[in-house]
């Protein structure tokens, strides 16, 4: 039973990690229907920015809390700026183009950003400073849930609720939903579609930045390639949950995390991804629009 609980929490925190990235993925997909393959790279850039800023601040000798806050802000600012700029360069000119063209543009962008960081920084793995200390009160259960896990779980939950409220109840959220469903009509009811899309990229990228900061400090190392696998997994999770749906992204991530964890624990980690993808296939066969995705209602 203990083992089960340990695996459960392992899966949960892995799911929470995926979720931080998947949230941004799903938002961007929701609004422009684009699989933004560069989203993983935004996360990676968030991690690098955090790394740079945190190191500088450590050298300056600031207190830990200040470092965390300032690093978080810097990561969000820069990642959001990258997200914004990428949209303007690589996706906006393709609004009226076939959707696959934007997909290829995204793949190109992802390659570009990887190699950009590789060249401007380094190809090596860099040690990421431990920003989140071990909380004393967590010590009794530290072998099950660590302090970082806890912070990630909380952040993910808060982000999810924040985004759900944002989308459901705020003006910008309404504008996002409208833009996602019918761009022309959204313009015709007075929504500035360009601004809404930019805002979505900014918010999604900010989520990725927070993810970059927390995950890097959880893993303790970064390099230019960390965005790739994380991006693919997060995307899988987003689809599993029903792409475009905020709670779906989180649910999908958790399901994916748990599957991988239990597959590792009870079968073999050799095949954890095989299990993950098989689960995806199975779920989609029975629920073709994901766990919480709205079925595509097409009236004829």
């Amino acid at each position: 039973m203990d083992y089960f609980i340990e695996l459960f929490f392992s899966g949960l925190s892995r799911g929470a990690i995926y979720a931080l990235i998947a949230l941004g993925y799903t938002m961007v997909y929701g609004i422009i229907g684009l699989i933004n393959f560069a989203h993983g790279e935004i996360y990676m850039i968030g991690a690098f920015t955090s790394f740079t800023v945190a190191t500088i601040l450590t050298i300056l000798g600031l207190p830990l809390l200040a470092i965390i806050v300032l690093t978080g802000i810097a990561a969000v600012v820069w990642s959001a700026s990258y997200g914004y700029t990428i949209e303007k360069i690589a996706y906006k000119p393709l609004r009226h183009a076939p959707r696959l063209s934007a997909l290829i543009s995204a793949i190109g962008m992802s390659m570009f950003l990887q190699n950009y960081v590789l060249l401007a920084q380094t190809s090596d793995f860099l040690p990421f400073p431990t920003l989140i200390p071990d909380f004393a009160f967590m010590e009794p259960i530290a072998h099950i849930v660590g302090s970082t896990d806890l912070v990630i779980l909380i952040t993910t939950t808060v982000s999810m609720i924040f985004l759900m409220v944002l989308i459901k109840y705020t003006r910008i959220g309404k504008a996002m939903r409208a833009t996602a469903q019918d761009r022309t009509m959204a313009m015709l009811v007075g929504i500035n579609v360009n601004r809404v899309i930019s805002a979505t990229f900014v918010i999604g990228s900010s989520m990725a930045a927070i993810g970059g900061l927390l995950i890097a400090s959880h893993i303790g190392q970064i390099n230019f390639y960390i965005g790739f696998l994380a991006g693919i997994k997060a995307f899988t999770a987003a689809v599993l949950g029903g792409i475009g749906s905020i709670p779906g992204a989180v649910l999908g991530s958790v399901v994916l995390g748990l599957t991988e964890s239990f597959a590792t624990g009870y079968v073999s980690s050799d095949y954890e991804d095989v299990f993950a993808f098989s689960l995806l296939v199975l779920i989609l066969i029975f629920k073709p629009s994901g766990l919480l995705g709205k079925a595509d209602t097409q009236k004829v």
Partner: protein, 407 residues
């Protein structure tokens, strides 16, 4: 040509890029030794570089918008660009084909075996691109796991060759058919998924196949791969490496020709029409009596067939394979070929494959900037030519009065 306002805007943009690239390009920290390196020169590069590039970028965007009147228009069959006109008139088309074929034949005599070798690779991707084009370009099914079928082909040959000593020619059809079977097997449960859901599931399948190959050591020799695979036989004569390279090159030329011929026929058949219609409107298609699943499966497995065949060639060409050659990135490249070339257009796919496969090779001069440039070029090509290099020029059917009296 550039107004003051444009210059001002570019200046602002370049400032923005300085800000953007600051933490990555200017600062470099060493967290162990607690040192910070400030590379101020990079500010200057970024400033100047982004100023110029932003001017160019906007200038070309502007040009594109001006031109969009000419060729973006999808509906119009006449008044297209020169290349389209060349390709549509049969006389010119045959001439172009003739020239291409001639070049292909003499190519090995004019260049080094390196050139021949990468050209062979490019031709392999031409066929892969044409195969995926059936799935994505014609039938409109976004397949991000195409590489799985390629792997099936390659491993069929490697394993059959390793265990049973079967030769290239024997395995060629087997590999293709196995891959096609996999296509049907995998396609059956998932083909009712729509658009991007299908994309992610196929991506998943691609990964599953690769992971199984990687982990099931007893079957596939795992990550260390299979080496010493025989090259294609040439009437039992042992060929030197140079000769073998040229031989495989000619084989590929032949394959490309056959593929073009067959894909052309497919495209102009009842089945091909059904694919295109399916891509345009599934519901209307069903209402016209088209069996959605059967038609999609046909596309999926035919695409797989070609991937499998080229997989066999791949294994024979490199004589060594391991699962690392069959990652998602490979699928992404093949997909890029199809989209970049122009979805659904055969010539486009050929050009796309040549560009995308030869480009990184010729970009070797840029050494470590190679993949950076490759990514940037992909983005630019899409931004400036979203419909692909050669947008689909399908032969359209015309009615020619026959058996009727000319009244």
């Amino acid at each position: 040509m550039f107004t003051l306002q444009e210059l001002k805007r570019s200046a602002l943009i370049s400032l923005w890029f300085v800000f953007l690239t600051f933490p990555i390009m200017v600062v470099k920290v060493n967290s162990i030794e607690k040192t910070v390196q400030w590379r101020w020169m990079n500010v200057v590069y970024v400033l100047v570089g982004s100023f110029v590039l932003s001017l160019l970028f906007r200038y070309f965007l502007y040009r594109k918008e001006q031109q969009s009147g000419e060729d973006e228009q999808q509906g119009d069959n006449t008044g297209r660009s020169l290349i389209h006109r060349l390709l549509i008139v049969p006389k010119y088309r045959n001439m172009i084909y003739g020239v291409l074929l001639g070049t292909a034949v003499v190519f090995p005599f004019l260049t080094s075996s390196y050139q021949v070798n990468i050209m062979t690779t490019a031709l392999m991707y031409v066929v892969l691109g044409l195969g995926l084009n059936i799935v994505v370009g014609l039938a409109g099914l976004l397949d991000l796991g195409y590489v799985a079928f390629y792997a099936v082909g390659a491993y069929s040959y490697a394993l059959l060759n390793y265990h049973f000593g079967l030769g290239f020619w024997a395995v060629l059809p087997i590999g293709g058919l196995l891959a096609a079977m996999f296509g049907i097997l995998l396609g059956f449960p998932v083909l009712r998924l729509r658009g991007d859901y299908l994309a992610i599931v196929t991506l998943g399948f691609g990964e599953i196949i690769r992971l199984v190959l990687e982990n099931w050591g007893g079957f596939s020799q795992g990550p260390s791969g299979i080496s010493n695979i025989s090259r294609p036989g040439f009437f039992g004569i042992e060929l030197s490496l140079e000769m073998a390279i040229v031989y495989i090159y000619y084989l590929m030329v032949l394959f490309v020709i056959v593929t073009i011929f067959l894909v052309n026929r497919l495209q102009d058949s009842r089945l091909g029409r059904a694919w295109i219609a399916l891509r345009e409107d599934e519901i209307a298609c069903q209402a016209m009596g088209i069996d959605k699943i059967k038609t999609k499966l046909a596309a999926f497995s035919l695409g797989a067939l070609w991937a499998g065949i080229i997989g066999v060639v791949f294994a024979a060409k490199t004589t060594f394979i391991n699962p690392a050659s069959f990652t998602f990135l490979e699928s992404a490249i093949i997909l890029s070929i199809v989209v970049l070339g122009g979805m659904g257009s055969i010539i486009g796919v050929i050009i796309g494959a040549l560009v995308l496969i030869l480009l990184p090779e010729y970009l070797r001069a840029l050494s470590e900037f190679r993949m950076l440039a490759f990514g940037a070029i992909l983005v630019c090509m899409m931004v400036f030519r979203p419909q692909g290099i050669i947008a689909s020029i399908r032969r359209t059917y015309t009615y020619k009065p026959r058996n009727r009296d000319e009244a």
